[in-house]
Symmetry: C2
């Protein structure tokens, strides 16, 4: 643990002020970890709202300028924009700055970002397991990360001090921090998050293919199963593409599991179907 007062940033830049970026800003302020927060994004109206609500202190649409003199820069846009942003800010970011992100994919993206860092600027990837289908500042709150898991994905090249800084921020927020290898991260979250998102989107599109009017008969089961299909298509487009190798592998395994149920249904194998369903019930009950 760092000593009290060690963790303080004069200027913080948050690029992408949505649910996670705005909650990060609110948490930094609540914990007294910074003096000044600059928001940056594409939608001026959103940034204006964020400033009005005192989530950020000021904003600019110029990403390069937004990072000048910043001690901490957080990437909280859709992950597909990360490398372009780093290329744009490379010239202005000051030595000693720490750059982190809150993207849902890590893997090779972490190594790509790391290799783009100017000398003396340190990147540490993080992934707070928070938020769900909402994506705007309306649902932002300072305690969003409290008691939530946060995965940090250092590499062999990660700067130890920067790693400690990023870890400490999330710990201050009350997150349960865990360090995981970037590639392992994508396998795990491919399985428990990215793959279920793709399935949820496909389930809703199946209803669309059958008869979209049937949606009025949807009960809690359908609502639960497809809630994450309300998630931002832009965000999940990027995540799916970045983690597509894992995703495609998992969809293959899923098809095998679905085919097994189809086979049992076709055979009318009552005991076999119950066994398949029970296996799922047993595992799912572990996180009841």
């Amino acid at each position: 643990m760092i000593k009290k007062g060690d963790l303080f940033f004069n200027k913080v830049t948050i690029i992408g002020v949505g649910l996670i970026g705005a909650s990060f800003a609110l948490a930094l302020k609540e914990k007294g970890l910074c003096k000044n927060i600059i928001g940056c994004g594409r939608k001026e109206n959103n940034l204006r709202q964020a400033k009005k609500r005192r989530i950020i202190d000021d904003y600019t649409l110029d990403v390069s300028r937004s990072c000048k003199d910043s001690d901490l820069i957080l990437l909280s846009t859709p992950v597909g924009a990360f490398t372009d942003i780093i290329k744009l800010i490379r010239g202005t970011v000051k030595k000693g700055a720490v750059i982190s992100d809150v993207g849902s994919v890590k893997g090779s993206l972490v190594y790509a970002l790391e290799s783009l860092m100017p000398k003396g600027v340190y990147y540490i990837g993080s992934h707070p397991i928070a938020g769900s289908d909402s994506s705007g500042i309306d649902d932002a709150r300072a305690d969003l990360f409290n008691n939530a898991r946060c995965i940090i994905t250092p590499t062999a090249k990660s700067n130890k001090k920067a790693l400690k800084t990023v870890t400490s921020i999330w710990e201050k927020f009350g997150s349960r921090v865990e360090l995981i290898d970037p590639l392992k991260h994508d396998e795990i979250f491919g399985a428990v998050s990215h793959f279920p998102h793709v399935v949820a989107y496909a389930v809703v599109n199946t209803l669309e293919s059958i008869d979209s009017d049937y949606i009025k008969y949807a009960g809690e089961g359908f609502k639960d199963t497809t809630r994450i299909a309300m998630s931002s298509p832009e965000l999940w487009r990027d995540i799916s593409l970045f983690n597509r190798a894992n995703l495609l592998k998992m969809i293959d395994i899923f098809r095998d599991n679905l085919d097994e149920i189809v086979r049992l249904l076709e055979k009318g194998d009552s005991a076999g179907i119950e066994k398949e369903f029970s296996k799922a019930q047993d595992l799912r009950m572990k996180i009841k």
Copy 2:
């Protein structure tokens, strides 16, 4: 609407005292619609508990005896047991009795049950859209059906008076009653309920195939998507088998939708993926 006092049963038999059967009993009592409720089932301990909690007035394990002199008989076991139960009670059920059920499948089962009715005994199928992954009496409550949709599935042969009786019961419970053709019912609920259940079971089994330890990283998205995989395997085995023709057709359409996403992922078609996800988001937002 019927006149006050018209709807009253001296003896009601509830076969299968689980979440729905027990809630039906509690609702009947709360609305003052009956004098005496007999529970029947396979698990004496459960029936004893239900009696102790005054959900039912008495119980028996003998299904044939349980229906003697009953004015109203409710089938609330897994749907696979319905025809066997009717065969067992045919000899004891009195003339003028109304038999209904709360099964999640209707379709040809409704016609099968109808054809098994003794002369002067009337069957009307119903399907309250209530409950979710829980299945025991612990979660039973008198207002479970209040404001919930209830589908009633009459046929051309349905007795008009019995239809009015069953409709009136659900209306008294506060349900939003809708009459739907039995085969159409199974197509609709195959799409919005049965098919998502099969998917949820298969998603959990996919995680089991990948690495069941990953479940500890599951966030709200995974939990929502797979909540219904905690549903009773026995109940859903029967539902899946009875509605398998629709289910298999829907799983086929689902596979096409999933294949489309796979194809776009393989191509790296960013705009195409976003479009697929947006289509799903748009439809799902309708029942936000």
